[in-house]
């Protein structure tokens, strides 16, 4: 009969083996959802805490989906707490983005420009876009994670993608690259 301490240690090892490989993608997603690296770290810590506490209920299935569902809930909780102290129109978050570094030189429509455009999307579009386009979760999985109807997931994704294309085309256009700058057609 192995002792209780060793049992606990083994369970901990199982948890870490299963959950830690997803740390980077959880962190990166949290950064985009909250627009702030240290808040993202706070939330990721919260995610692992919750995951560890509920590990006994994890059925060994899709760990990634399980962790991301915890992430979405934790982010929503965090946002609720945050916005209670701030005006409801998310203006603090907007202010932060304005303080971000200046856009890159024209030749490079860089990762930085893309990230800023993603961060500028309203949260409900951004969240769905991240889950679908970065992590490849299905509409059904996203609906389950976010508690939103399937049809709503689809429409938020379409609209989010379209908004993003528009803002990226604008950035490109303002730097004299892309079809718009030549007076051309739709991207």
């Amino acid at each position: 009969m192995i002792g209780r301490r060793r049992q606990q240690k083994r369970k901990r090892k199982d948890f870490e083996a299963v959950a830690l490989p997803h740390l980077d993608e959880l962190y990166r997603t949290a950064c985009r959802m909250l627009g702030d690296a240290s808040r993202a770290e706070d939330v990721v810590q919260e995610v692992y805490l919750r995951a560890w506490r509920s590990f006994h209920t994890f059925d060994g299935g899709n760990c990634r989906a399980w962790l991301f569902r915890i992430l979405v809930n934790a982010v929503h909780d965090y946002r609720r707490r945050l916005y209670k102290r701030m005006p409801a129109d998310d203006s603090e978050a907007v202010l932060e983005r304005q303080s971000a570094p200046a856009p890159p030189p024209p030749e490079e429509l860089t990762d930085q420009a893309v990230l800023e455009a993603v961060d500028a999307l309203p949260e409900k579009f951004r969240d769905v876009l991240l889950l679908a386009d970065v992590h490849g979760f299905s509409y059904k999985e996203i609906a389950a994670m976010t508690g939103v109807r399937l049809g709503t997931v689809m429409s938020r994704l379409s609209r989010g993608r379209r908004k993003l294309r528009e803002s990226l085309a604008e950035v490109a256009g303002s730097y004299g690259i892309g079809p718009r700058a030549r007076g051309g057609g739709v991207a």
């Binding site: 805490l49 993608r161 739709v186």
Partner: protein, 288 residues
């Protein structure tokens, strides 16, 4: 930019399906219908290409973001695990400390930060600092930049290293270790720079939370007297910014600050313990 589009009803129908098609969510029949249309319609093909290009760009941009070093350890510690003890991490921190002694150096190894992450740090520091009087700003910057966003070792630094880094101020180390409340362990003792000031900086850890003790020389005319923070008595002042708790007092030629995301009590206790220690209360600047 609205252009006259979708004159062709087939294009109109396919346009509605393109997003789902790109996400591989269509039934086999619908996907087949879309594909047959795309083969003979360059406009719709171009639209699909735009969707897919943007999708790839987002994915690549998000995945390109660096993750701060030590995140894994902090997360494991915070969720009840133990950090690994790899000698390699200690070497990284020692190397980082040397760079910091030589002057202020922003290196990815220290901060794990790429430019947009440094910008986030600065935004965060700015947001925190505006919640407190000006004199508390630099220790906040020191804590955020030099404690939160750096790798730190899993063990206390060797005594020789502290002597090397702090020189005549190395005597502070045991004082601070002794003044720390139950459960705190020293992980860094070094000189660093933040917000244009030099600090003697000590980082303590308890349950994955960090506490900084930062000492900086008082400039002529600087004083905490009359500062708009909560007085705790004996010249110690207390303040808060988001999740951080701060305490500060004047001590000889220095200001001493405690900055931490632990609760109020340990921060106050640490500040009071330090304040009541002779070697700190009357600290004069040591010649190197």
């Amino acid at each position: 930019m609205k252009v006259l589009e979708f004159q062709d009803p087939a294009c109109r129908r396919v346009a509605e399906l393109l997003d789902a098609y790109a996400s591989d969510e269509l039934s086999v029949e619908s996907a087949g219908e879309v594909e047959r249309h795309l083969r003979r319609c360059s406009d719709c093909s171009a639209k699909l290409a735009a969707i897919e290009r943007t999708r790839a760009a987002v994915r690549s941009a998000v995945e390109s973001q660096a993750v701060p070093p030590g995140l894994s350890d902090r997360v494991r510690a915070a969720s009840g695990g133990r950090k690994t003890s790899l000698p390699v991490r200690w070497l990284a921190a020692a190397a980082a400390a040397v760079i910091l002694i030589a002057g202020f150096a922003v290196s990815k190894r220290i901060t794990g930060a790429y430019p947009h992450q440094l910008a986030y740090q600065q935004v965060r520091i700015h947001r925190l600092a505006r919640q407190v009087p000006a004199l508390f700003g630099p220790p906040i910057a020191d804590h955020v930049h030099c404690a939160l966003y750096r790798a730190y070792p899993d063990e206390p630094p060797p005594a020789e290293l502290t002597v090397q880094e702090l020189g005549p101020d190395a005597d502070l180390r045991p004082i601070i270790e002794h003044a720390a409340p139950e459960g705190f362990a020293l992980r860094l003792a070094h000189r660093c720079r933040a917000a244009g000031r030099e600090f003697l900086h000590f980082v303590l850890v308890r349950d994955g939370r960090l506490a900084s003790v930062s000492m900086t020389l008082r400039q002529p005319g600087e004083s905490l007297a009359g500062i708009d923070s909560e007085p705790l008595g004996e010249g110690v002042f207390f303040d808060r910014a988001d999740e951080l708790r701060l305490a500060g007092f004047q001590a000889g030629d220095y200001f001493v600050f405690v900055v931490s995301d632990v609760a109020r009590e340990p921060v106050v206790e640490l500040a009071r313990n330090l304040r009541s220690h002779d070697e700190i209360a009357n600290r004069s600047r040591r010649k190197a």
